[in-house]
């Protein structure tokens, strides 16, 4: 995997996000090359989730410039983003299939086979008629991942995808993410359990108090770049 | 006559109350700035 800093998948230039007296992000400048799996690490309140939400376009930065896939118009690249949060982002009152069919529609995807495919990919049964409200936490988390990868995104943003998931499922999800990265996708993953991704992650990004304080490249340990 | 004075009195009462609110706003702001300088 070669770094292509001239053509990063995501590029942040002096991005800040202030909430009244609180700075969630402060002057973050960073380029992220495509086709890599980035682990975003840091204590609570370090700005990890905010960073993901800014890249996802859910939060407008207070200052600074954000470029995604070479475009600074966020609307133009929305179709290429996948986002998964702590919360399931699913309707409890609908079945898994109904949920995915609805979200697929938002991306202009009409084939039902594709939804079934996404559900199978995360290891769930697409014929399950149960409402999502009755799913276990692990199942919900997997379905949530299925929702995030429905549109075959080029950039995948995952906020704590393994919280409350049993180790077996987590391993399975990790393998899936690894193969997605190998197919050229850029993945950002916020987690408290970096051990689960041992060997899969390309780079660890450490955040503290709204800043990126350190980046460790696992593929080229000799080039360990400090920021 | 009493209506006239009541109207003028109330006008200034409202405006003075607002001025007091503004002054208190500035007072709070001053405290905040002091906070900022303290540590």
């Amino acid at each position: 995997m070669t770094l292509t800093p001239d053509n990063p998948a995501v590029s942040l230039n002096d991005v800040s996000k202030l909430y009244g007296r609180f700075a969630a992000l402060r002057m973050v400048t960073a380029d992220f090359a495509p086709g890599r799996l980035y682990l975003i690490l840091g204590e609570n309140g370090a700005g990890k989730s905010t960073l993901l939400r800014v890249i996802a376009g859910l939060i407008e930065p207070s200052h600074g410039k954000l470029t995604i896939l070479g475009s600074s118009d966020h609307k133009a690249v929305k179709a290429h983003l996948g986002y998964m949060a702590h919360a399931s982002m699913l309707y409890d009152e609908l079945s898994g299939r109904e949920n995915l069919a609805y979200f697929a529609n938002l991306y202009g995807i009409r084939e039902h086979a594709l939804c079934a495919q996404a559900i199978r990919t995360v290891g769930l049964d697409p014929t399950l008629e149960r409402r999502v409200g009755q799913y276990s936490q692990g199942m919900r988390q997997r379905l949530s991942l299925a929702r995030a990868i429905l549109n075959d995104p080029r950039i995948l943003l995952l906020d704590e995808p393994f919280s409350n998931v049993d180790v077996g499922s987590a391993k399975e999800m990790t393998r899936l993410l690894g193969s997605m990265r190998d197919s050229g996708k850029t993945i950002f993953l916020v987690t408290h359990q970096p051990a689960l991704l041992e060997g899969f992650a390309d780079e660890s990004v450490y955040m503290s108090a709204g800043r990126v304080i350190e980046r460790v490249d696992h593929r080229a340990p000799t080039l360990e770049a400090k920021r | 006559m009493k209506f006239l004075y009541a109207a003028y009195g109330i006008t200034w009462a409202v405006h003075i109350i607002y001025l007091i609110i503004l002054t208190r706003g500035f007072g709070k702001l001053r405290d905040d700035i002091k906070d900022l300088e303290r540590d």
Partner: protein, 232 residues
């Protein structure tokens, strides 16, 4: 800036005192209404300032949605709040005038009613500002302000058209040709005085909001450095 402010404040104060003298002493007592007519010298200028403030708030809200400058938002807050203050004065002095002249405190007359609705709309605006959190606050408020100001147009029409059971008295006798020039004089002085006073209040409120924004930002930056120092 500070000295300019002081000069303007003193000038306004002088105008207001002179206006008060003109309204209570210099202007002759009106024949039919008696001394209550003098309420008019305060009531109408206050209404005028209110009518200036709300459209300014509307404009500021539109501009804010386009350029997202915090200063514009601060101006929007200032005009809305000052507008509400003057609106309150109008709503209180109106009935005090109505009681001796019409014999009732309140009537669902077109002007009183629309002023009341306007007051309710902008109180809603201020509540929205107070209750909304985080960075979305000014955007939500600005969108609401646009609805509110457009709605005001409908309020005026609706009340004029669908609420006309009561006879509509001509307010303040109108500026008919027989008006005493000294009355006109007192009226114009007070118009000027209250317009200056309104501008002064907007200036103060704007400064307050703008300073608060800057202090908040400084706090945000500092809490961060503090945090970082602690973490390392």
């Amino acid at each position: 800036m500070r000295s300019k402010f002081a000069i303007f404040a003193l000038f306004t104060l002088a105008l207001l005192s002179w206006g008060l003298y003109q309204a209570l002493v210099a202007a002759p007592t009106e024949a039919t209404m008696g001394p209550v007519q003098r309420i008019f010298y305060y009531h109408v200028p206050n209404a005028w300032v209110m009518e200036l403030c709300f459209p300014l708030n509307f404009l500021a809200s539109i501009i804010y949605l386009v350029n997202r400058k915090p200063a514009v938002d601060a101006f929007a807050v200032a005009t809305a709040e000052v507008g509400v203050v003057f609106c309150t004065v109008v709503l209180l002095t109106g009935p005090i005038w109505a009681r001796p002249v019409w014999g009732i405190w309140w009537t669902w007359d077109a002007r009183l009613t629309s002023t009341l609705v306007l007051w309710l709309i902008y109180i809603g605006y201020l509540m929205l500002r107070k209750l909304s959190t985080g960075g979305s606050n000014p955007v939500l408020a600005a969108s609401f302000a646009i609805f509110g100001c457009l709605d005001a147009v409908f309020v005026f029409m609706a009340i004029r058209w669908f609420r006309t059971q009561h006879p509509q008295p001509v307010f303040g006798g109108g500026a008919n040709s027989g008006i005493d020039p000294r009355m006109m004089h007192a009226f114009l002085i007070n118009m000027l005085a209250f317009t200056c006073y309104g501008a002064l209040l907007v200036w103060i409120r704007y400064t307050l909001e703008r300073t608060r924004q800057k202090v908040d930002e400084a706090h945000a930056m500092k809490s961060l450095m503090h945090h970082e120092a602690g973490a390392k």
